[in-house]
């Protein structure tokens, strides 16, 4: 039997992956009737040979054992689909943020970003032998991604500083564009679909609908089974975060940490806005500045229907959330506004034309030397701006 097309939902972390997986599980019967199989990360994590999953370092023998078991799992799912759909399985969805590497977003992220992504995806391809692979990635603006990841660590009971978790926060380490370029280098990967989580993550229905579009099922499924209880990961308020940072070092057991976490979430619940607003304005501006180029390239290459500066400022990013999908005019209308410096501390300045010309259009975004020069220039410019701000404040 011809292997089905493979759709890999690779995350990114903190982009409602679990919420989407739960939503798809609720739609599983309908997906099966449309010839679509579904496996999520928990299925893979439950395999006996999971240590051979190349989303983390592993030896070849263990990797082969995992591939065999993975293939068996897929065969079971395909058999289930075949019972529901006369035409058999035409598409298999595998959803797991671990396909980009099994680690939390933290100080170990460096260059290349998610270095195990290609081996993990290649392993899935090797195990299943699909004729075509489509990779689906939802992105989150990097400063907010870091804030969410940090908050999540604190909610697990840790008490380190934000700077300790992200010593690279002022460097464009979380470079989605470069990561996707590496994934595209795999021969079987025919398409990479990228969407900003900010555009679709406000509700489970909206998110699911967007993902179903990637499966060619837009508008074809009844979303009523999603119900109203699917919600993103609950987060602390800023007050809860301050309390947790002082309490967490006193907690010695998982029980204590769980009790405190549940209490703080219950009594001091936060909103998404709480979770992504505790960086100082100046630091956020520096981070956005450092990611300006890579994000612009990301949008221009993979999301041409959206404004290229959608991640340049809070105003531009928030506009994504306020926009209905399928209204490209509505989104693009803000592009002109986003393209210039707003001068509010969260804005970024456009790179100079000469600077851009040095990297645009080159395979892999420039040679190593050019990339190094670019990074060094960026660092020097960032430090100079920070020094000027400090001196100005001192005088004031």
């Amino acid at each position: 039997m011809r292997a089905p097309e493979l759709v890999l939902h690779v995350g990114f972390q903190q982009t409602g992956v679990t919420m989407l997986q739960r939503a798809l599980c609720r739609l599983r019967p309908q997906l099966h009737r449309h010839g679509i199989g579904l496996l999520d990360g928990s299925s893979l994590a439950g395999l006996e040979s999971v240590e051979g999953w190349q989303c983390k370092k592993t030896d070849p023998k263990a990797a082969r054992a995992f591939e065999r078991e993975f293939a068996e799992l897929v065969a079971e799912e395909e058999a289930e689909v075949a019972r529901q759909c006369a035409g058999g399985v035409r598409r298999l969805v595998v959803s797991s943020a671990h396909l980009l590497g099994r680690q939390n977003v933290n100080r170990r992220d460096g260059r290349p970003f998610r270095r195990l992504a290609v081996p993990a995806v290649a392993q899935a391809i090797r195990a299943l032998g699909p004729p075509r692979v489509r990779v689906v990635l939802y992105t989150r603006r990097q400063d907010r991604l870091m804030e969410f990841c940090y908050l999540r660590e604190i909610q697990k009971g840790r008490a380190h500083t934000f700077g300790r978790q992200f010593p690279h926060r002022l460097e464009p380490v979380f470079d989605y564009h470069e990561l996707l370029g590496r994934l595209e280098s795999l021969a079987e990967v025919e398409e990479v679909r990228v969407r900003p989580f900010e555009l679709v993550g406000s509700s489970a229905a909206r998110y699911t609908d967007d993902f179903l579009t990637a499966l060619g099922l837009d508008g074809q499924l009844d979303l009523a089974p999603l119900g109203t209880d699917l919600a993103p990961y609950r987060v602390y308020s800023r007050q809860a975060l301050r309390i947790a940072l002082d309490i967490n070092p006193l907690l010695e057991s998982d029980r204590d940490r769980r009790l405190v976490r549940d209490f703080l979430i219950e009594r001091f619940p936060g909103t998404d806005e709480d979770a992504t607003r505790f960086l100082p304005t100046y630091e956020r501006a520096r981070i956005l500045d450092s990611y300006a180029q890579v994000n612009r390239d990301l949008f221009e290459r993979y999301m041409p229907d959206l404004p290229p500066h959608a991640y340049a400022s809070d105003e531009a990013t928030d506009r994504l959330a306020a926009t209905r999908p399928g209204d490209p005019d509505d989104l693009k209308g803000g592009a002109a506004r986003d393209a210039h410096v707003a001068g509010d501390g969260n804005s970024v300045s456009k790179p100079t034309p000469d600077f851009r010309a040095s990297v645009r259009g080159l395979p892999g975004r420039g040679t190593l030397l050019q990339r190094s020069v670019w990074l060094t220039a960026l660092r020097l410019r960032t430090r100079a701006k920070a020094r000027i701000t400090w001196l100005t404040n001192l005088r004031g």
């Binding site: 007050q239 301050r242 309390i243 002082d246 309490i247 006193l250 204590d256 009790l259 405190v260 209490f263 009594r267 001091f268």
Partner: protein
């Protein structure tokens, strides 16, 4: 006409005053059947508070008592308000409840129209200080025990001056001093004893749902001290207190080590004779008593 009298329970703090108040609140009908009336804790905040209202407007309390006893059915009106004598500690004070004597005098004047009795529940000073400190932490305070103790003179924890003021203004036969250690016999017996003191012929046999107010453990205390500076209002402090009492009580983790053994021994030795004279109880080596509804 039946002679009506007033029983005024002045505390002290941390001697299960809340337990008695809640019992009376929840059993008004039973008390009424036994011809006992009571004023609520909430009302007493309006008439007495921490004592200042008693000093400035004692007539308000008098009017309220008059109003309550206007019904001739009631033989006894019971008032329980542990804040009547003011705060128990003050930096530089010579004894417990430094404002007590002044407030006792004013209370005696306010109760002068009726035969009245005063109930004072006491506990050994080391227990009292520790328990009061933990209560302060629950209310949001952030000082460690050592820091808080810096404001207290351990040589000025005598109950005697307060007792002297009570006997002076009410008469020794109308003042009852009770050892809080009675709580070890159980909450129902504690309540029953209180009711028997009000009326020796009472037929009430309390069967009250236990008011569990477990003390927090040493770990719970550290968590409270770390969290308190971030709590902004009473609701948050109460939520934190409830959470810590439920999950970090001394039933699961070690009790807070506040006074050292040496300090406890010293305090007990210093006040043992006075305590025995007041309550008839011989102070044993320090043993913990659960705070019950305090």
């Amino acid at each position: 006409m039946v002679q009506q009298d007033v029983v005024y329970h002045v505390g002290a703090h941390k001697t299960a005053s809340s337990l008695l108040q809640k019992f009376m609140r929840d059993n008004r009908e039973i008390l009424r059947q036994n011809r006992i009336g009571c004023l609520s804790r909430g009302e007493m905040n309006d008439y007495v508070g921490w004592g200042k209202k008693l000093l400035t407007h004692p007539e308000n309390l008098e009017h309220r008592i008059t109003e309550a006893l206007a019904d001739p059915w009631y033989r006894t009106l019971v008032i329980s308000h542990e804040n009547t004598l003011g705060p128990p500690f003050k930096e530089g004070a010579a004894h417990l409840y430094p404002r007590g004597p002044e407030l006792v005098e004013q209370l005696a004047r306010a109760l002068q129209p009726w035969p009245s009795r005063v109930f004072l529940y006491v506990r050994p000073q080391d227990e009292f200080v520790e328990s009061y400190y933990l209560q302060r932490v629950h209310q949001g305070h952030r000082l460690s025990f050592t820091e808080w103790l810096d404001e207290i003179d351990l040589e000025s924890l005598s109950w005697q001056p307060l007792m002297d003021a009570l006997t002076e203004h009410f008469g020794p036969e109308r003042v009852e001093v009770v050892d809080f250690g009675l709580i070890r016999q159980g909450q129902n017996e504690f309540i029953a004893d209180f009711l028997r003191r009000i009326d020796p012929e009472t037929q009430i046999e309390p069967d009250y749902r236990p008011v569990r107010n477990p003390s927090i453990s040493d770990k719970g205390l550290k968590i409270a001290l770390a969290a308190n500076k971030h709590l902004r209002n009473d609701w948050e402090r109460k939520a934190m207190r409830t959470f810590l009492q439920k999950h970090f009580s001394n039933r699961r983790y070690a009790r807070p080590a506040l006074f050292s053994e040496k300090q406890k021994v010293w305090i007990r030795a210093r006040y043992a004779r006075e305590y025995e004279q007041l309550t008839g109880c011989v102070l044993s080596p320090a043993q913990d008593v659960e705070d019950a509804g305090s």
